[in-house]
Amino acid sequence: MLRRNMSDLSSVSIPPPPPSWRHVGRHGVFPAAGHDDTARFDFLANLNSLLASEVLPRVRDAYERRAVPAYTEAHGHPPRDRREAHEALKGERLWQTFSALRRCSMEMRQQTGRTLVLKQLPELIAKAHAYNEGASTLKLDPTIEQPRYASAVDIHCMPGGYHAELVPDDVSAGANYDSGLFATTAGMLGRFSDGGGRAVAAWLKREYPDFRPRRILDVGCTIGHNVVPLAQAFPEAEVIAVDTAAPVLRYGHARARSLGVHNLTFMQANAEALPFPDQYFDLVTSAMFWHETSAKALPRILKEIGRVLAPGGLTLHLEQPQYTPEMPLFEQAMRDWDAYYNNEPFWSVMHELDLKRMLLEAGFRGEDYFETTIRALVDRELFPEAGQGQEDYGRTPMWIAFGAWKRG
């Protein structure tokens, strides 16, 4: 139990805890878990919440009170950008404590998920196989190589990234990713960690009720958790999700099938060279994908998206908010934390890109560009008291949705 401030007992209140991992959405290939696995994920979700609600605000105080003056003393000026703010933070003990605990938490999360999954790997492979065998909606291509941006380091500190295969027909990367997302995000993405995709589908239906895409493409889909809601929202559409990593595609396909989604094909392909004819899709999406690419790959991917998009079609992307001059340097530096310490090497540079210009350079027109803020619909089943999680920079379920229509 956490008491906030013993000198102010009238305001003693215990903040609502994150929902137990027990409520995570189960589907046909979700790993089986016992009491102790659940308790481990609950421990981690609570630890992350505690770090975000109790330690992070103190880090911000220490930044203003100690780190900025110390930096100014040493350099003759206060931090001028987020990299200098990051340098200023490195010497601050509280930031060190926060960072050591957060890194530790990320590593424990990986160990918890991987151990859970690997202990039952033969069973999980068999379950996935039952859904995948003979399905024309799973198209793997072993000649696809992992792009440098996906293999230089293990993204999110997931050992083996999205792509490593420990055994033939491996699905462990997908199962591990799926099992831990709920704990890492404290349930704020919903039971099936699909809050992003659900928000996009709801936004499209609301803003463009007459938009009826016949074919939809999702790039960098991993386990397809954000494209499944689109496939469900547009049941008449033919939906294709691509990724370079086979283990997440096998898992994602079986997951979607077990959730009753049949208009969704998972295909192993590199988004820099999409295996589709020109003007094939009416809607091309990605969710939290841009920051996991690279400065070289991203423009090629956007050009490909422009090519496969039909006139009158829409490309729509979800990302965490961009760095702007209005965003405090402390927030920028803390949002950069995952770039440096959770193996997201393109995160920092991506979040300072001029998104509009990126799309213009890919052939879209300025007047067709749009940008809006989207928040995950809070899952009432999980948060009956209208719970809103505290700010946990880089993990908060609030995104910018941006993109462009392609002129007819």
């Binding site: 009491h35 609950d42 060190q96 790997l121 033969p122 380091v153 500190c157 420990l166």
Partner: protein, 120 residues
Amino acid sequence: MDLDPLLLGAAPAKGKRPWFFSDPDVERLLNVVMALAMELAVTRQRLDALERLLEARALLPREAIEGFAPSPEAERERQLMLREFQIRLLRIFLQDAQRERTPAESIERIMKELAEGSGP
């Protein structure tokens, strides 16, 4: 399948690991402490589940635990259990404190002393 899920589960991620404390060994220790804390939390949750299940099956009301009044003999044993636990837990600090009182000689000096007179 010839994989060790426990060791593979604990595999490192590709990429250099950052250390945040000036002494990485202190941070290593923090990681061990946090792992212990997690397993302790798991055990407490399991115990809680057990208590609630016992209560739900009317085998043991929760008040029996909250209001548990041990016999004098049991109370003494329980107090000794706590003492033993704390001594095990705090061994390194207790030993440091002891050495404060009686500074120990270095092993090198004693090695030298005991070697005196042997050989050239």
